[in-house]
Subunit: 339 residues, 3 copies
Amino acid sequence: MDFTGADILSVNQFDRPSIERVFEVADDLRPYAQRKRITRVLQGAILSNMFFEPSTRTRISFGSAFNLLGGEVRETTEVSASSLAKGESLHDTARVLSGYSDVIVMRHPEAGSVAEFAEASRVPVINAGDGTNEHPSQALLDLYTISKELETRGRQIDGLRIALVGDLRYGRAVHSLCKLLAVYNSVHYKRVSPPELALPAGIVEELRQRGHEVSVYHELEEGINQVDILYVTRTQEERFPTQEEADRYRGLFRVNQAIYTKHCEPNTVIMHPLPRDSRAKAQELDDDLIHNPNLAIFRQTDNGVIVRMSLFALVLDVAEQVHNHAQPVTWYTAKRNPR
Amino acid sequence: MDFTGADILSVNQFDRPSIERVFEVADDLRPYAQRKRITRVLQGAILSNMFFEPSTRTRISFGSAFNLLGGEVRETTEVSASSLAKGESLHDTARVLSGYSDVIVMRHPEAGSVAEFAEASRVPVINAGDGTNEHPSQALLDLYTISKELETRGRQIDGLRIALVGDLRYGRAVHSLCKLLAVYNSVHYKRVSPPELALPAGIVEELRQRGHEVSVYHELEEGINQVDILYVTRTQEERFPTQEEADRYRGLFRVNQAIYTKHCEPNTVIMHPLPRDSRAKAQELDDDLIHNPNLAIFRQTDNGVIVRMSLFALVLDVAEQVHNHAQPVTWYTAKRNPR
Amino acid sequence: MDFTGADILSVNQFDRPSIERVFEVADDLRPYAQRKRITRVLQGAILSNMFFEPSTRTRISFGSAFNLLGGEVRETTEVSASSLAKGESLHDTARVLSGYSDVIVMRHPEAGSVAEFAEASRVPVINAGDGTNEHPSQALLDLYTISKELETRGRQIDGLRIALVGDLRYGRAVHSLCKLLAVYNSVHYKRVSPPELALPAGIVEELRQRGHEVSVYHELEEGINQVDILYVTRTQEERFPTQEEADRYRGLFRVNQAIYTKHCEPNTVIMHPLPRDSRAKAQELDDDLIHNPNLAIFRQTDNGVIVRMSLFALVLDVAEQVHNHAQPVTWYTAKRNPR
């Protein structure tokens, strides 16, 4: 994949060398995200951060990533306010807005809309989520986190054993992560979900055809032992036909410290594509895991900024120039909770 | 007109030398808008981009223009959220907000509100649309586009023949453009609209008194031959008293490639103050015009950024200093659809 | 108080030396706020300006203050859009968002929420208003204004006589100002309000225990003579149980030029924590005061930017470095209404 000027629309664009290139540049940019130094490599460049559907954290993560490279951000969070409401085509909107910036990040509730938008855009477009379809930067940051967590444990992604827990049917993040992982060798996917929320058969089939092992569990305890990564997702109760059905599964796939200690191998990494529901009895990940050093959920979101910086640097072709514009950081940066 | 520190509230402020000054600076700024180089001339300056009525494209166009000159943008898109809702006067709001920035761009649904705001502001105010009243930067970008399009065809604005098509009664953009054009010599305005949506008699009278020819057509085909510019507007169906009346005119003033080829002179420029309605049967400009090189609608929006940069540079008196702060562009800028 | 890396959550954090340090740095930053010169000391730093409750002026004041120090601002004004709506804990939101920036400003409708947020944040948090609880930067800017106004009149805060007029019961700004003033010597607080809107007994008691004089008046004329500062607040009619009760007090605590001339000492300073209600008969401060040079309400809001710059500079520990990054201002800055 040639990143320069490319649209980032789908995880299907990424083969193994492309993923490794994203991660290599991400590693290189880590000191800037951690405020060890600053760079102004994109000084004068403008990101249009177009969110036609709300998403505070993804929006700010992309915006901060661009700021960290020295660029400016223009933003839209108005849904009904857009010209689309007046009957304007996505083509026109894209062509107009792409005249205002150097790169566009776009979230939109309709599957396929971002790709259609990118067709007409004169600048690169990054998909920040198009309905139930794709959210490639989320999958890349998940995979990057897996890679870094395994690295500190002396392992690598080939041969990975991962438990996928919760809503595997509707979870866009899980689907994309499954596909990205499939470019590696001999991954064992352990699926743990209610039958109603099982991973779609098409994805299972694809993973198997590519030589991976896919097994299924309906009890949490069976699925989460002997894995490297425990990837838990939020079960969106509104997905069930009735509240009664939702209630049947509530808490069944909830991980807490006692379950972890009893069933998981030491140093099993716990991940989650936040937000997690922390209301009483609804928690997927119990609060008592907060002191478990293997809880990587906030390292995931921190990595999100770094991976997005990497995508911007690659698409705008400045990855090699970042260090030329480096400057020292002069303000207070000591993090108070360094884990 | 002395631009330094001036408010830009109305097209009535602009005589011919003022317009030519705006365009001269715009030409000078074009390489920065096109990312041939960057300038930091407004580094440290702050724009308050106050949109008390939604308008994604105008808001981002102004914001990007300010960023392109090196300045920062603070933004408001909250309508109900404003202190105005708590009974605060426009005077107080203006006086307070003008303490936070170096220049203010303001859109507001009430005619006259921006001028009232400017009275109390301590920094220059640019009107980005006050209800049905004025939107001077739109008229300036339309006129700038006319000027550039004619230039590439070896012509000038004096002696211009322009067809104004669609809703000429309520269209703020058309009214302002008519007035700006009137400072040139011997313009022929050809009006093409349903009788219910005719250009207001007061404007027609004014144009005639200033020595211009104003003719009227109720059939599209008659009005659009022998013109240099075809300026088509959106007919807002909600303007009609009943849906039946709206239906009577739907499609009657719609331009497509076949009509263009049959009735227009070669190289007649097609313009539109977007957004255009692209829903089936509602189109003012048919999609089949997309390959017509005379379709200038996206050159209009691109020019919008340049004209707004020019207004900022003039009002803040940095037009002569722009090149002193120029730097090379170091990131990918190759546009993929260069027309 | 050691400012470096500190959260600014409550006026209770501030002793007299801390307040004087904020004001000393504010004085030092004044030339930058007034565009006499610019500084880039926070170039590369990112503020997350999180407003989970609307407040145009406070939001822009903080954002501009950060821009004036050279930093970038990422912003949230979406209330329902936040992940909090999906059941995410404040802890998670704080931990995630604090990975995206160097400092966070937060407004939230619930008392105590900002402190809870700060617990989990990895970067300093400044409270921009948490419900009825605290809004420390407002109190600091009020006190800074008192200090500067007295200074030009050859006086100081020790021995201050201040009339507090209007809604003293619910007014967060008044409560915080009372507490901050209490660190000085021999302040005389004159309370002027309807009995239903009296200053809470707990605050009165605290002020008295710290050696200050607190007196009470139910007639405007009695309370406002022989004071240095007249601090008027908005009576929020929605605070009364019925509209009839609200109507009983309307206009009773309204100050106009005639009342000022008749009852106040010469050069009594008039202040108000804007917005003020300027609707007919609802005004707390009459429009005819606009030419009174002692009306300091807009000097208050101007000072707000300066005090917020000071807080950022102290918390991020760059107060001593500001002048190292100073540059001349090259654009038009002549204010048109210089008072």
